[in-house]
Symmetry: C2
Subunit: 653 residues, 2 copies
Amino acid sequence: MRNVTVANPFSLQHVQITDDFWADYVHLVRHEVVPYQWQALNDLIDGVEPSHAVKNLKIAAGLEQGEYYGFVFQDSDLAKWLEAVGHLLATEADPVLEKTADELIELIAKAQQDDGYLNTYFTVKEPNKRWTNLTECHELYCAGHLIEAAVAYYQATGKRRLLDVACRLADYIDSVFGVEPGQIRGYDGHQEIELALVKLYQVTQEERYLRLSQYFLEERGQKPHFFALEYEQRQGKTHFPMFGKGVDLAYFQSHVPVREQETAEGHAVRLVYMCAGMADVAAATGDQGLVQACRTLWNNVVHKRMYITGAIGSMAQGEAFSLDYDLPGDTAYAETCASIGLIFFAQRMLQLEAKSEYADVMERALYNTVIGGMARDGRSFFYVNPLEVWPLGAHKNKNFQHVKTVRQGWFGCACCPPNIARLLASLGRYIYSYRDRTVFAHLYIGSEACFEIEGVPVSLKQQSQLPWEGDVSFEVTHGQEELAFTLALRLPDWCKDITIVAGEAPVDIQQVEADGYAYIKRKWKSGERVKLQLAMTVNRMRANPQVRYTAGKAALQRGPLVYCMEEADNGTNLHQVLLGAEGEEQVRFESGLLGGISTLSVPAMRSKGKAWGDRLYAADVKNDEEPIQATFIPYYAWANRGEGEMTVWVREN
Amino acid sequence: MRNVTVANPFSLQHVQITDDFWADYVHLVRHEVVPYQWQALNDLIDGVEPSHAVKNLKIAAGLEQGEYYGFVFQDSDLAKWLEAVGHLLATEADPVLEKTADELIELIAKAQQDDGYLNTYFTVKEPNKRWTNLTECHELYCAGHLIEAAVAYYQATGKRRLLDVACRLADYIDSVFGVEPGQIRGYDGHQEIELALVKLYQVTQEERYLRLSQYFLEERGQKPHFFALEYEQRQGKTHFPMFGKGVDLAYFQSHVPVREQETAEGHAVRLVYMCAGMADVAAATGDQGLVQACRTLWNNVVHKRMYITGAIGSMAQGEAFSLDYDLPGDTAYAETCASIGLIFFAQRMLQLEAKSEYADVMERALYNTVIGGMARDGRSFFYVNPLEVWPLGAHKNKNFQHVKTVRQGWFGCACCPPNIARLLASLGRYIYSYRDRTVFAHLYIGSEACFEIEGVPVSLKQQSQLPWEGDVSFEVTHGQEELAFTLALRLPDWCKDITIVAGEAPVDIQQVEADGYAYIKRKWKSGERVKLQLAMTVNRMRANPQVRYTAGKAALQRGPLVYCMEEADNGTNLHQVLLGAEGEEQVRFESGLLGGISTLSVPAMRSKGKAWGDRLYAADVKNDEEPIQATFIPYYAWANRGEGEMTVWVREN
């Protein structure tokens, strides 16, 4: 097995976010989200559904009496929280938080069974039913999150306690699953352990973990279908009776082998987690067939099944993809976790090949759906992120049962909030990558990065005015006379007017561009700077004419931010607004609004319908349109001013 | 109790449909639909779900052994079929059909219990559970349909056998339900018996039946809520576990008393059946409060919750109304039966007050949703009648699970096909009404009607070119020198250019118009004619700007027919069509197409999207529109040329 992993020197400790926009979010995660979630996991918040996750652990560890409560995958909320804590400790010491985490880790270690098994549901509630319902019961999924937490915590603190727990668990799983006699020839209903095992391999260099990940991926979808066999064996008994009878293999991406999957089917989160694992294994093994399989699924998701906000999953039933170009804004599922998973996938693809599209999508999902999934105060969250909301309709028409018009405190199925936390806490990992003396800047997020090029310590200081203005600069510092390396700057898809000045010299971008990156190859003097200026045009975006929902409509985007209209600014009946001529938008930064945002004021027409009276249909009613200025705010900032209508796509002439 | 029922001399025997357009449908019902359905009810059709309805009856009658099969309301399919047979026999003798019906009636009589009870489900399957789950089990609903069948069969044949069965059943029900001690103070989950009892009262003049109908209506929604009490009593046991726990009172229109219901809530069919019953009781009693309650619900349905095709019910879950102006075309439920019920309601309102809006809506529902619910061959049916269909999406996106893209042979829940049959078989009842020496012509359907005015026999022969051309004429024949009466001609809402010539003299319509009828008051000589010319403009219809789905879109209507585009004529991706300027539509009658229809050829633009490649979102792709001629066909004729896309509402500039 050839190891072609691209060594990435940008471990989290070495990238400090200093960005005006993002430092706020990291601060929020550190001081609000993570403490709030710890309260939630300990059932200390009034008025939100109890999590019982810590309690389950204590019962499993034999420290308390009681019944298991919560979903079968409740453990994963704790693991995701712990992973976020690991990321936070990597960039800033916090002895109190670390002590809390260490205590939790001791609890986890106590709940681990003698053989290495670790899962509170099956330990407490169905001790004889381990591995009998992999289709539904998320045992390997929970194990995957535990492994990710262990790796993050080890990388941050150097403490091996949880890593050892994770290795024992992984070793045990490795003994249970596989093609040898007596092993279960299966895999999990919810992909996650695949990417986690690669992380464990990366920190331990234990090749068995990589091979186990590879096994889970390659076994998936092979015949005879494992989930179908298991369904018979469990005689159709189910943990989720609301989902009906039988097993929908495509829901779990287990209908065909992963290399043969040409379209993104089924549960959106599972698909992108699977793809991230595939890309990880491809990077570790150099398997070009697997790389191609990743590209095929990437292209289908990104060119045919993704919302403009970087959201995925067009239908509530199954939280799933539907079909090409089916992207309804109002009934969208568009789960926060799915966009987070899409970012995981994109980041892995960037490790495989430096094409700016991966970073463009990563940025789109991050700046729109992911941070839109969290209120500005970090205490309430969206699971579902529609692009059009009509609260009256959402409350009454049951097609919109899944849509919440107001962010929720904590969900019974609380996957999204801790997922946002762990992503934002590890944001430093997504900005750069490194290969062959080339530093790739994928995201323009103010930060200070320390790394080495062929043993020479280098500091790279990025300053960025994004997402409000397009000024970005990089300053390279090192202790040498000069240092030869390349800085590859992403040319964002939203910007058609870019200037780059390296040192004092303007760069002819066309000359140095490849796959959406400008390769600035120099012998850098210490203190030398590169300036990047990105024109911040208001782009009037249209969707491919194959998309039904967007026919005759446009969306506004400025920089990476997709905009929307809200009732708070524009009143009700947003569908009555018709955008006027392009190019007359006024941009205004309003420091007092929603944490400081640039709003757009856009000339538009609005049909009031006064002449209609109580008529419902007519051929002869004059259309009494009047000119208005429509106000748009960034999509991520919606739903912070009470319940109201919202729409991203607006009709235009 | 003051009886103010308006005597309507137009019993079905006395109106023969001779219309080019409609005679075909009546012929189809007589020679295809009713025979086909008889086969279906006897489980003789391969490949369609067994009905078991006749079999259930034989088992209940003790003539066969076996288990009950089918829905709890399976009996009603037989009753609706028998009612249709009654209507058919009223206008044309058919000894073979009559013999079949008589045999069925004997079976029914045998299945009736000694105390008058009649319901095969509870007789065969749960004999001790009569009246224990009125919320769900449709006992009174089935009784209502039996009564309607009995009345129709009696009116057609003069045979009392089934009428006597119905009276015994009604007498028994009258003894079981009411406010006296020992009686059940309840009502049915599915309204139907209310309107049926008024029919029984009309043929028997037995006031108890009217009073029982009145009781069921007035008791509905009173506190304490009967369905809530019953739910407790049956300890939540349900026949429909898929509907979840609890009782949604509004689904059954039992949340508040009927006089206090201001919006159309819940299951659409139940609502309109209830309203028809309310209007019947109001007509029979002169209760103006009840008339006002009818008007309130009518206005809400027709001005805020009705599709342009006369369909109602905006959401699949609950087959129900949602909220004002929520009229999505693609996820519509729009059940055929609900439009039939709306016609029942409209016809009753016309008996109460001659306002053309009632007839306009009746016509809209009849010419569009009702006949659209049946294939041109009378052998397959739609239950759900969306205004936009994308077959690929309907198959894959589970928001459209309820939508069939191809008409079905027979449904497990087969309410719609026999409902279409009984409506079309009794179409003669909907054309005219009579009051105070005034004959109202509500529908322009070629026919010969015989009736009496103050004892004088009169024949009224109507000729009509509708729905293709707007020429209508009436010829009055009688045996007198001259006869004074008024012919009130409806001025359809779709026509702004009407001329009327009575005898030789043009009528100044403004002078004689009231509430949408032109009152032609004359001393008629025998043989005198009135000619009506209705301009057949292609109306470009828009919806009230409060409706979201139709924003920026128009629908084409010509005469009473709403039009649609189909894939068969226009290819796929119908959402890419943009209507051109108004008034350039070409109308062409195509005798060979779909039984002979007028098509519309409409200048339009179409975005092909060739320049998009695999891009999903962009600000800078040129819109490569090209001019086309879009072809529209009448909505009722869609889905007769294989599976394909269809849309009623089309974007316009």
